[in-house]
């Protein structure tokens, strides 16, 4: 741990209001303006300035230049393009969650060997497509050539970039550790799942996502909804969709098995499956079928199977009990009931409390 860490932690504690509450009135935000992929992003940073005797000027100062600020990418030029980030990054939130719920760290399974599949455009080469031309480098080469040949006239500096000057960005493979994870979310969207139930699922998945992503280099997510039939959807649809009809849970498990075998071979991925349902299945036989799928096909490849039963008024499905009976002592299976929002924290703890 570096020497600065205790000071940094202390500052964070003050920002979070855990200690020295009287300092909060001096706490403000400083904005840095950065560029990410052509967009101006604002990076708010908590800033605490202790009071001192100071002059109260209204923005007076001394500068140098043409007094024209067109060169700078200052605030206020085009406010519509600002992306304001939260005071806390998801990473920090996950850390808070971990501290609050006392969650154990996840120990990624699998090999620590190096994989070099991904690449980034960090290299420079003499050849390449025009779309990847590195203007600054090319210009500098041309400038060097012109100056070296003695043709440079400082009063009329015209630099023509020739073919030999051109430089191009090229991708460089990046060596990445293999600790990747895929999270499969399965949600029951049958008629009995109301908006409130989906909200519970949405909140819970956010935190599950945050915590698991924190432990892996790359995390993929797969969303499956099911009523009597199952289908894969995107994140947005996952939370909005309102189907109706019966509930056949095994259909979702079948689909999950197919996706995992096709796209996420167990040797390469740390697999998580979280299933949210109100626990009412169409038939006993289907529930039995689910247990079979879990036991034979899913659990052997999963790091963790989590089941959260979001209970709607008065009804209480028996899927929870079935799972409890079958996998009581299986540490790959974590079960929880989520009757209301207050129960979310406890549910997260029981789903993630095993450090798997």
């Amino acid at each position: 741990m570096s020497r600065i860490q205790p000071d940094l932690n202390r500052f964070r504690d003050i920002v979070r209001g855990r200690v020295r509450d009287e300092l909060r009135k001096h706490l403000g935000q400083q904005e840095l303006f950065g560029k990410r992929g052509g967009e101006i992003v604002s990076i708010p940073i908590p800033h605490l300035e202790l009071p001192h005797f100071a002059h109260d000027f209204g923005g007076r100062g001394v500068g140098q230049g043409d007094g024209d600020d067109s060169g700078g990418s200052k605030a206020g030029k085009d406010p519509g393009r600002h992306i304001l980030e939260a005071e806390f990054t998801v990473e920090e939130l996950a850390q808070l969650l971990g501290e609050a719920l006392d969650l154990p760290r996840i120990r990624p399974k699998g090999r620590d060997d190096i994989d070099s599949r991904s690449s980034r455009y960090t290299g420079v080469a003499n050849t390449g497509p025009e779309s990847l031309r590195h203007f600054r480098r090319s210009y500098r080469r041309a400038l060097q050539r012109v100056i070296a040949s003695g043709a440079y006239d400082p009063l009329r500096p015209s630099i023509v970039i020739e073919r030999g000057d051109k430089r191009y960005r090229i991708p460089r493979p990046r060596r990445e550790p293999r600790a990747n994870a895929v999270i499969v979310y399965v949600m029951d969207v049958s008629g009995s799942m109301g908006a409130e139930q989906k909200e519970l699922v949405r909140i819970e998945t956010f935190w599950l996502d945050a915590w698991i992503s924190r432990h892996y280099e790359g995390t993929r997510t797969v969303y499956i909804v099911h009523d009597a039939l199952a289908k894969e959807v995107d994140r947005d649809t996952f939370f909005r969709i309102r189907e109706s009809g019966g509930t056949v849970i095994s259909s979702a498990y079948e689909l999950a098995i197919r996706i995992i075998t096709d796209r996420f071979p167990v040797d390469d991925w740390n697999l998580y499956l979280f299933h949210f349902s109100d626990g009412e299945n169409y038939s006993r036989q289907d529930t039995e079928k689910c247990m079979q799928y879990l036991d034979k096909r899913l659990l052997p490849s999963l790091n963790l199977f989590g089941y959260g039963q979001v209970e709607s008024y008065g009804t209480s499905g028996d899927f929870y009990d079935a799972l409890d009976k079958h996998f009581k002592s299986d540490e790959r299976v974590a079960l929880s009931r989520i009757p209301d929002r207050e129960a979310i924290a406890a549910s997260i703890r029981s789903l993630l409390g095993r450090g798997r």
Binding site: S2, R3, I4, P6, D7, L8, N9, R10, F11, R12, I14, V19, R20, L23, H26, Q30, L32, F33, G34, K35, R36, V41, I43, I45, P46, H47, L48, L50, P51, H52, F53, A54, H55, D56, F57, G58, G59, R60, G61, V62, G63, Q64, G65, D66, G67, D68, D69, G71, G72, K74, G76, R140, L143, Q144, I147, A148
Partner: protein, 496 residues
């Protein structure tokens, strides 16, 4: 936090640049370079270059800012150097060799400035050790009295950290006990000369005697005041006279010591960076650069010298001013003859071929600080050439706009920024105010009012140290006003 020692290649470069710097007349303590990665560099920068500082959250805050802005590619610290014997400097790991050369040349400029500028003469050249000691002591107090108690005291001290006397270092140390003058005979009228009775009226005119009597009275009145003269070293005064526990006194003392150590760096930012830039430019372009490196060097150098809207770049201003001084003293463009010359053509062609430039800039770097440097050497021609301007906030758009390019106003604005580090001048005028041991401060008002909310908070912090009510006389919107804080609540009253 210590980084790695240099590679063989870097050692060779260092030896070479050090030799060139010495040949050019720079003198410095031994310079020790270390290579650090960017995380170490950010942490070091948060600690103002020192490997160890006392524990305090603001270093964490600085670090957070630096690392966030590094992450987003907004800045990169190439170099850092600390005023110490030996002079420590850090190089960023993974920088191109050209950058490392440039940084080294730049560092030798700073090292020479630290050693030779007279404002640095009093600084502790073993500050690395002193800072480590401070850290140990503060940690010990924290273990004994609790983190929060110690931190609150440090915060209170930091809030008045800048209330030290920038001129104090040039004054002889005050004697601990002031000599008490012999009591004059109370029967004898002051100022009376022995004279024969018939001449007495002429030798000792009654009006004169009355005047003398009043003067003595006034002096007596004055000496009852404490401190006898207004005191600008508020921290020093608190250290000597506030009712503090020993550990508290130690903390006030160490914050004050660090304040005095950093003071000359705040007083000479423009000169220091200008001097270092002058030398990196001179050393690189005349000795070190290979043909292949020149464009990359120019690219890097111009990046450092770039001016941004609304911000004064001390590197640029300092470098240009040093070059201007060198040129003027080389050509003899100074003194009464030059001042008297009013012909534009005459001025443009003025060249007495004195060649005094180099000697002059070495002298300047020895005896000046930013305020005197700019006061003495800023010329209207320079101001125009460098396109300096004063700005103010447009009340409508709340964006800064150029308010003037007039030489006098720009210079005045600049000097105001530089005087006392741009901070208001505050003195202790009475430590026994109303005969109730209350502390009375005085703000030497210079056109600009105090920021009121902060002033109140500072007073509150001072009551923590002084343990009695603290007041300050200032002026707000043209009217004299006294702000007070008694430790629980702030109040204010108009004063005559």
């Amino acid at each position: 936090m210590r980084g790695r020692i240099l590679s063989v290649e870097l050692v060779r470069v260092q030896e070479r640049i050090e030799r060139i710097a010495a040949e050019q007349g720079l003198t410095f303590f031994p310079v020790v370079f270390e290579v650090v990665d960017y995380e170490q560099m950010n942490a070091l920068a948060a600690y103002s270059g020192f490997p160890t500082r006392y524990p305090h959250y603001r270093f964490g805050m600085e670090y957070l800012q630096l690392s966030k802005s590094y992450e987003y590619g907004l800045h990169k610290i190439y170099e850092m150097v600390i005023n110490n014997d030996p002079t420590y400097a850090y190089l960023l790991e993974g920088n191109a060799m050209l950058d490392q050369k440039l940084v080294m040349a730049h560092v030798y400029g700073h090292a020479d400035f630290f050693r030779n500028n007279m404002y640095f003469a009093h600084t502790n050249r073993r500050m690395v050790d002193a800072m480590a000691n401070h850290a140990t002591r503060v940690r010990r107090y924290q273990e004994r009295f609790g983190i929060e108690v110690v931190e609150k005291l440090i915060d209170a001290c930091l809030s008045v950290e800048d209330l030290i006397d920038p001129t104090a270092v040039f004054l002889p140390a005050a004697p601990r006990v002031e000599a008490v003058p012999a009591e004059p005979d109370p029967d004898e009228a002051p100022g009376r000369m022995p004279a024969k009775a018939y001449l007495d009226r002429y030798v000792n005119p009654p009006a004169y005697l009355e005047e003398q009597r009043k003067r003595v009275e006034e002096e007596k009145e004055h000496s009852r005041r404490f401190p006898a003269r207004p005191e600008r070293d508020v921290l020093g005064f608190l250290l000597a006279h506030a009712p503090l526990a020993n550990w508290e006194r130690d903390i006030v003392g160490l914050i004050r010591e660090e304040g005095y150590y950093f003071l000359p760096q705040r007083q000479s930012k423009v000169m220091n960076e200008g001097w270092a830039s002058y030398w990196h430019s001179k050393i690189m372009t005349t000795h070190v650069l290979t043909d292949a490196e020149i464009i990359d060097y120019a690219d890097h150098h111009s990046g450092t010298m770039a001016t941004q809207p609304g911000r004064l770049n001390p590197y640029k201003l300092g470098l240009e001013l040093f070059r201007d001084i060198e040129r003027r003293w080389d050509t003899g463009q100074f003194g009464p003859e030059w001042d008297a010359c009013e012909s534009m053509a005459g001025r443009a062609q003025w060249d007495r071929q004195l060649g005094l430039g180099r000697a002059k800039i070495f002298e300047v770097r020895r005896v000046h600080c930013d305020a005197t440097f700019l006061d003495e050497f800023l010329t209207p021609e320079f101001c125009q050439e460098q396109k300096l301007f004063a700005s103010s906030e447009d009340p409508k758009t709340q964006r800064p706009v150029v308010s003037t390019r007039s030489f006098d106003e720009v210079k005045q604005a600049l000097l105001f920024q530089m005087t006392n580090g741009g901070r208001p001048v505050i003195e202790i005028v009475d430590a026994n105010y109303a005969n109730r041991s209350e502390l009375l401060l005085h703000h030497c008002h210079a056109r600009v009012d105090l920021r009121q909310d902060w002033a109140r908070d500072v007073l509150a912090n001072l009551t923590l140290l002084w343990r009695r009510p603290v007041r300050i006389d200032t002026v707000r919107e043209g009217k004299p006003v006294r702000l007070s804080h008694d430790g629980t609540a702030a109040s204010e009253e108009a004063i005559a």
